[in-house]
Structures are given as structure tokens and as C-alpha cells.
């Protein structure tokens, strides 16, 4: 499996964010997207997730499931947590696990994912009472609950404490070891040793 882009350009409301961008990430590799504020890190991740139109260039996932599009094979964790405050932690996670998994979701996956981020004791609590870091952990638990090969993580460690960062780092390494692909936009080191770097240029 290989995620590759060539000559990629992004235009947001008439302003060119980046152009002529190319990269290639193979299965088991991570790409850390760097760049100052406004360089287009989030735009690039949202573009791969199919949420921002590709203005020019090619973007392709070779060797994935031919039945599914690239966004359907990718997990996106952005700045918004996609958590409903009125639902409990478990209901939030179970909904996304069912909705994102497709026809046959695994029964135990949400429970295991809650355990992975030490949220099991909060399972029955309405998500409104979660702290920022706990919400982040819940939203990361989603990507563990449903298996998708490409992880698009936008500042995944923000609001996470040291233990949760350590846990995330372990999970990312496990995902890579299992042949996954990770693209992460970040300012701080996130514990991906040996990851490639993609530096986005100055904003125009």
C-alpha cells in the first residue's frame, strides 16, 4: 500500500495555500507534516480526507481496497472532536464504531478502545463532563475501534497528558507495524521515531 501525491495544490476561498506539493508514504511509514501556522497542514490532511477539494494534482492510495475511496479508508482526527455532549462516552464511541465500520463491526472493539485510552471507568458518563484531554482521548479511541489503514492526525497530542501521549505513541507504532500509514500535522514531537518529514512552505 502506498499513499502518494504529486503536484498537489490547495486553494481556500481564492487564496493559494500551497502548490506543487508531492510526497509518497508506503505501508508502515509515517509522515510528519511540519510548517508554521497557516502553511496548510490542516488543509492537506482535510484534502486527503476528502473534505477539501483538490485544486490541482493527483492524490492516490495504491494497493488499498479497490471498493472503497481514499476517505473511506482513512481516519481523520481534527480540531473538532465529533463528540455529542448529551451522549455518554460509550454511546459516542459505539455510534462512530458502528457508523464508520460498515456492514460488520466487531462487537468488542469499542470496549477495547476505551480501555486503550483509560476511559473505561468513564463509559457511563455524559461526554459533556469530560475534560479537553479526555475528549481528545475519546476521539482517538474512535480510530482504534475501527480499523482503517490511513490515519490523518491533526495535532493529535494537544491537551493530552504525558501518559496518554505515551499510549498514543505506542498505538501509532503498533499501527505502523501492522502495515498502516500515518500522516500527522504537529508542532511538537509526537514520538514517531524514524518518520519522514514534509515541510510546507511559507504562506503566499
Amino acid at each position: 500500500m502506498r499513499l502518494s501525491a504529486s503536484d498537489l495544490a490547495c486553494v481556500r476561498s481564492g487564496r493559494e495555500v500551497f502548490a506543487g506539493l508531492g510526497f509518497s508514504v508506503a505501508a508502515g511509514e509515517a509522515l510528519v507534516v511540519l510548517g508554521r501556522n497557516g502553511a496548510g497542514k490542516s488543509s492537506l490532511l482535510r484534502m486527503i480526507a476528502g473534505l477539501v477539494r483538490v485544486a490541482a494534482g493527483q492524490l492516490a492510495l495504491d494497493g488499498g481496497d479497490p471498493e472503497l475511496t481514499l476517505p473511506e479508508q482513512a481516519h481523520y482526527v481534527g480540531h473538532q472532536d465529533a463528540i455529542k455532549p448529551a451522549l455518554t462516552v460509550q454511546e459516542n464511541l459505539e455510534f462512530w464504531a458502528q457508523y464508520l465500520a460498515g456492514p460488520a463491526p466487531a462487537e468488542t472493539a469499542p470496549v477495547a478502545a476505551l480501555e486503550a485510552f483509560a476511559l473505561s471507568h468513564l463509559a457511563g458518563l455524559p461526554a459533556a463532563y469530560l475534560s479537553a484531554g479526555q475528549k481528545r482521548r475519546l476521539s482517538l479511541a474512535r480510530i482504534v475501534a475501527v480499523k482503517r489503514p490511513v490515519w490523518l492526525l491533526d495535532e493529535p497530542t494537544s491537551a493530552l497528558d504525558a501518559r496518554a501521549q505515551e499510549r498514543l505513541s505506542q498505538l501509532m507504532q503498533a499501527h505502523l507495524a501492522g502495515g498502516g500509514i500515518i500522516l500527522a500535522a504537529t508542532h511538537a514531537p509526537i514520538g514517531l521515531t524514524g518518520a519522514k518529514e514534509l515541510r510546507l512552505g511559507e504562506p503566499v
Partner: protein
């Protein structure tokens, strides 16, 4: 299918937990219908004659009340991004959300009709006709409304735009709904013809609404 069922269940659960939807819609409906006799005066014959139209107008306005939050809430917390990234088709997701919205706001209005009909001195037979036409017609209002809700999703004050966009499109539903409902008491037309057209309008909106709303969502998120 399990994804759609999960979405439907989530939206129903949210509507129940957050409140607002069903009780607010019914209360608004009640207030609109109560205001009319005050405005027109206590002329029972007049009220009886225009009662079905008043009930239909009240239901039309009440069903638009909470519609602007249909996609805006999901857009604000990022849920819509993930819904777009699912292998469940967006059209079906829109239909599931609209169905959940109708169950929590449209259906209670239909159930409230018999009580409100008493306020207007409407006979039981006409009341039944109004309830039946609303049962068939309110899904059309909701599904037409989803298109407006999808267009207004990125706007800060979407509610007003939504009403302006959607109300003109509901005119055919209103015409045939009221025609069928009032045929029982006053109308020169029989019940069957306008009621059949109303059913047709609902079926059309059930098909076109999700496609148009999904297209608007895809376009609006860019």
C-alpha cells in the same frame, strides 16, 4: 444498514435528551393556533371554515422551528466530516437524519391535532381529515426542509435563511394538504383527488430531498 440504524438511533436519543424538539414544536403549534381566535374574534362559523388551514399553517411553521440545527450541530462539532468519510452514502444518511427529525418534531404535531382542533370548533370528521393529511404531508415539509438546512449549514444565522428558502417550496404541499383537509367540511372538491396529489408530493420530496441536501452539503463544506 447498521450504520444508518446507528445514526437514526443517535439522532432520536439526542432529540430526547436535549429536549427542545417535540415539546417546543407542539407548544409553538399550540400558541399559533390559540392566537388565531384572538385575532379573528369568536366567530365559530368562520373558525370552523378556516380551521384546517390554520392547523396546516401552524404545523408548517412549527415543523421548520428546529430544522436549522439538523446539520448545523453536526457541522459545528466535526461529526459531519466523519459522516462524509463513511462508506454509508451521504444521501441515505441525510434521509435517516430527516426521518429522525420527523419522528421527533413532525409526528408529535400530528398527535396534537385532535386537541387543537377542539379550540377551533372543528367537527370530528374534519379533524380526522386534518390529522391524516398532516400525517402524510409533514414528511414532505421535513424533507423539503432538509435541503434548506443543508444549504444554510455553514451560515451563522441559518434559521432565518432556512425559512425564507424553504417556505416558498412548501406552497404546493400546503395547497393540496389544506384542500384535502377542508374538503370534508366546506370544500367543493372531494377528499380523494387532493389527498392523492399530496401523497405524490410527499413521495417526490422523499426522493429529491436527500439527493439535493447531500449535494448541498458536499458543495457547502469546501
Amino acid at each position: 444498514m447498521s450504520g444508518l440504524a446507528a445514526l437514526l438511533r443517535r439522532d432520536l436519543r439526542l432529540a430526547v435528551r436535549l429536549g427542545g424538539g417535540a415539546p417546543m414544536g407542539v407548544l409553538f403549534f399550540l400558541i399559533v393556533v390559540t392566537l388565531v381566535p384572538f385575532a379573528l374574534g369568536p366567530d365559530l362559523a368562520l373558525l370552523r371554515r378556516i380551521g384546517p388551514a390554520i392547523l396546516w399553517l401552524g404545523a408548517l411553521l412549527a415543523s421548520l422551528l428546529a430544522l436549522d440545527r439538523l446539520f448545523a450541530a453536526d457541522h459545528e462539532d466535526g461529526s459531519l466530516d466523519l459522516i462524509l468519510m463513511s462508506s454509508v452514502s451521504l444521501e441515505l444518511a441525510v434521509a435517516a437524519k430527516a426521518l429522525a427529525h420527523w419522528i421527533t418534531t413532525g409526528l408529535p404535531l400530528v398527535i396534537a391535532v385532535p386537541v387543537l382542533a377542539l379550540f377551533l370548533g372543528i367537527e370530528p370528521w374534519t379533524m380526522g381529515a386534518v390529522a391524516l393529511t398532516l400525517l402524510v404531508g409533514t414528511p414532505a415539509l421535513t424533507f423539503i426542509g432538509t435541503v434548506g438546512a443543508a444549504l444554510a449549514v455553514t451560515l451563522r444565522r441559518g434559521g432565518l435563511i432556512l425559512a425564507i428558502l424553504v417556505l416558498p417550496l412548501t406552497i404546493p404541499v400546503l395547497i393540496f394538504g389544506v384542500a384535502a383537509a377542508s374538503s370534508a367540511s366546506v370544500g367543493p372538491v372531494p377528499f380523494g383527488a387532493p389527498f392523492t396529489i399530496l401523497c405524490g408530493l410527499t413521495l417526490i420530496s422523499l426522493v429529491i430531498g436527500p439527493f439535493a441536501a447531500a449535494a448541498a452539503l458536499r458543495h457547502g463544506l469546501e
